[in-house]
Amino acid sequence: MSFRGRVTRPRLAAAGLALGLGWLVGYPLLITATEAFGGGAPWTLDHFKAFAERGDEWTALGRSLWISAASVVLSALVGVPLGFFFERTEFPGRRLLGGLVALPVALPPLVGVIAFLFLYGESGFISRAVAAVLGLTGPPWRLAGAGAILLVHTYSMYVYFYLFTRAALARLDGSVLEAAANLGASPMRILFRVTLPLLRPALAGAALLTFMTSLASFSAPYIFGGNFRVMTTQIVASKLNGDLEMARVETVMLAGLALLALWGLRLLDPGDDLAATVRGVAPSRRQLTRPLAKWGAAVAGWSLSLFLLLPHFTLVLVSLVPAGTWTTEALPPVLFGGNYSTLFSRPESLKPLLNSAWMATVATLGALFLGFLAARSSLRVKGRLGRLLESLVSLPWAIPGTVFAVALATTFSIHKPQAGRFLLIGTPWILPLAYLLRNLPLTGRAAFSGLRQLDPSLEEASASLGAGPWRTMWKILLPMVRPALAAGAALAFITALGDFVTSIVLYTLDTRPISIEILASLRLQDTGLAAAYGVLLMTLSASAFVLWGRQGERV
């Protein structure tokens, strides 16, 4: 009896969880997808035929694919070495800089693009400086096309690789590396034969997130792409033009591409528990003792951080410029604090800050809980059910944010309990729910990669010593995956805090978040006030990272 109970209870729990996630994540998408086939009134393939006959649609689909693949490669090339550098080398200022380097992910929506424009656009600082140094008369480059998209993607997405690499390195067992070294392996050989294979789950998680994010990325291709169209810009163009059928087909095709990628990545990384190591003490950081090396590392770290934070500084500068005064000068001629006093003197304008803060907090806690539960459940039951759970957790990220939001809005806009549909649109609950589901892949992937790196024998040992499953979870599992969970939670929190694409579809009068306020200021041509909001948003995000840094440090 007790044996049966141990076998079926986790499976039952997993099945229940899969059902719940399927309802919240899969069902809305299914409803959206059926509409692309005419929604049953009557069923038709005509819209797909129209899609198939258009060359520009296939080009856009192909471009979406290669841009995303290239973004993964470039982000990995930047993020992984950075992760190693900050996790394995000790130098003055490491802790602070280690947090700062993650901040590109916290560049606020909409105004972040304006910061890029002021920096690298044709009348930006950097462009002007380069033109002056090289003695050029015109701007040295045009921020447009595939190159510009990749630049922006790499800048904002390497952070996934960076954070996941650091979290995984913090969980490595130093004795394994020492053993390899004692057996005579060269540092290179250790890196490629021991360290990187152990990091595989984390790297696969980061690759998946980067791929999906860039597949769903909209603002970069829209603003910098020019005529370089990808699938997301096609969807918006169709939608703006009222061609809802075509927009639905394009959405289904993009989602199909994402699912294909998800499946492909699973083939590459089957997630077999290769990384079963008993966790000992994390490998010690390399203490740089020679002053030259030590200060060299510090200087490199600082200048890199400065470079990465240039858009943030630009935003601060823009927030201090009175409207219309900065035209063709290299630096703004006048600075003032008026935007901040406007912001702080009206309670109405602070409400969005509070809204974003509470919704992001609730959503992150929820996503953390659900993500961990799903990962734990999936790894326990394995097999088809386990894989289903893992796919469900990753699914929200595979769908462009707008599409996901529209799917939620459609599903929960009527009250039909027998069909599993409830009236949530227009209530304050739909937006936090959307944030939660959108960020489930972040916490979920983090939990999966954290748990996969653990040695299953730990759990068995705990159980054989008489600890119940809850006690094992609290005392053994959670503390050990904490760095991974903290990284996932920090990302989820700041993503929810700055979210724009989901919010614009689902916000209500009482849940208006910061990003919508930024949009409103931009619509009023008040770039300064928009930037001031952006700066506040960055400050909140940065505090989340500082807290994350402490979590990582304590373990």
Binding site: V113, L117, D243, G324, T327, P347, E348, L354, R523, Q525
Partner: protein, 346 residues
């Protein structure tokens, strides 16, 4: 200690925000008009009606429509305030608007009234030529739409992405409708747009980027809407405008009651008030809106509005044709014209 900083910040925020909600009746307005105008109206109306709390959500005109449509099962808005009448007409066809005829309706031209009293033109929006006066002298600035094709402006024209903008759709629609009227089909119009495309350096994502780029002289001339440029002028921007000599395709900026409004009585009262001569002359003075009502006397309008109304040469377009074909036109433009423009022979 450090971890108490965010907590303290949140507590302070809570305190600062607390007390926003009181027992007043709310009128919820969805509007693309922007904070300047909405705050002005909110204050003026609440002064006269202390029992009413006017609340607004400020968004793009296309978004208002999307949002009212997606919320139709659980309407959150009472009033749909602002946007071209073409969007209102779509909303009316989908049953998103409720009939209500305010007392000022008779003072609005018949053509600016929606069917079955579902919506009414309230303000006039005027597409105009824009230029940066810091780089382009008043004499050199384009005088008519045609002048934008001048080789002098090659790669100096910036255009707001027309797919997302009611103003730009109207201007492009004007070009195509004129072509249909003159030659029987759109061919000539698309040729014109192809030449404009060759002149265009960039289609900007939103008006804010358009103005930043014009101000920073990444482009020098553009097409936009009068009110925004007047507001910018008040804020010391170097951007200036000019009416096109061949005529202006005036847009009726409308207002209507949302179906299923929660506070219908209060919403009707606000709608009544916002079209009164008092409210119209207030927004003309403070927020540069031109009234659609034709019975306003000169003293009720500020100087700028009187000047504009004299200079304005409205262009009469085939509204039916534009409403019917606009989507098809823009799709064709997006696929066949954008970025594929042919340079003018020179």
């Amino acid at each position: 200690m450090g971890k108490w900083v965010p907590v303290g910040f949140l507590v302070w925020l809570l305190g600062a925000v607390a007390g926003c909600d009181d027992g007043r009746t709310q009128v919820v307005i969805y509007s693309p008009h922007g904070r300047d105008l909405l705050e002005l109206l909110e204050k003026a109306y609440e002064e006269q009606h202390p029992e009413i709390d006017v609340r607004y959500l400020d968004m793009g005109s296309q978004e208002v429509y999307d949002r009212v449509r997606s919320e139709s099962a659980n309407p959150q808005a009472d009033l749909w305030f602002g946007g071209p009448d073409t969007i209102f007409s779509r909303g009316a066809q989908e049953g998103l608007l409720a009939s209500y005829r305010p007392s000022w309706a008779d003072s609005v031209p018949q053509a600016s009234q929606g069917p079955n009293d579902l919506y009414f033109g309230l303000y006039l929006a005027c597409p105009i030529l824009v230029y940066n006066s810091a780089a382009v002298s008043d004499e050199a600035a384009p005088r008519d739409w045609e002048d934008l094709l001048d080789p002098a402006w090659n790669q100096k024209v910036l255009i707001r992405d027309p797919l997302a903008s009611g103003t730009m759709r109207t201007v492009f629609g004007m070009v195509l409708a004129r072509s249909v009227a003159e030659t029987g089909d759109e061919g000539q119009g698309f040729d014109w747009l192809r030449r404009l495309d060759a002149q265009t350096k960039e289609y900007t994502l939103n008006p804010a980027l358009l103005f930043e780029k014009l101000t920073r002289q990444e482009g020098l001339v553009s097409i936009w809407e009068l009110t925004d440029i007047l507001l910018l002028e008040r804020r010391n921007s170097p951007l200036r405008y000019r009416f096109a000599t061949s005529g202006t395709p005036v847009i009726d900026d409308s207002i209507g009651l949302v179906t299923g409004a929660r506070n219908e009585a209060a919403a009707k009262d606000f709608l009544e008030w916002v079209g009164s001569t008092d409210a119209l002359s207030l927004v003309a003075r403070e927020a540069f809106r031109l009234p659609a009502r034709t019975d306003m006397v000169a003293e009720q309008l500020p100087d700028w509005a009187q000047k504009v109304l004299t200079a304005l040469k409205p262009l009469h377009l085939d509204q039916g044709l534009m409403e019917e074909r606009s989507a098809q036109w823009m799709e064709t433009w997006d696929r066949e014209v954008r970025g594929k423009g042919t340079a003018p022979a020179n």
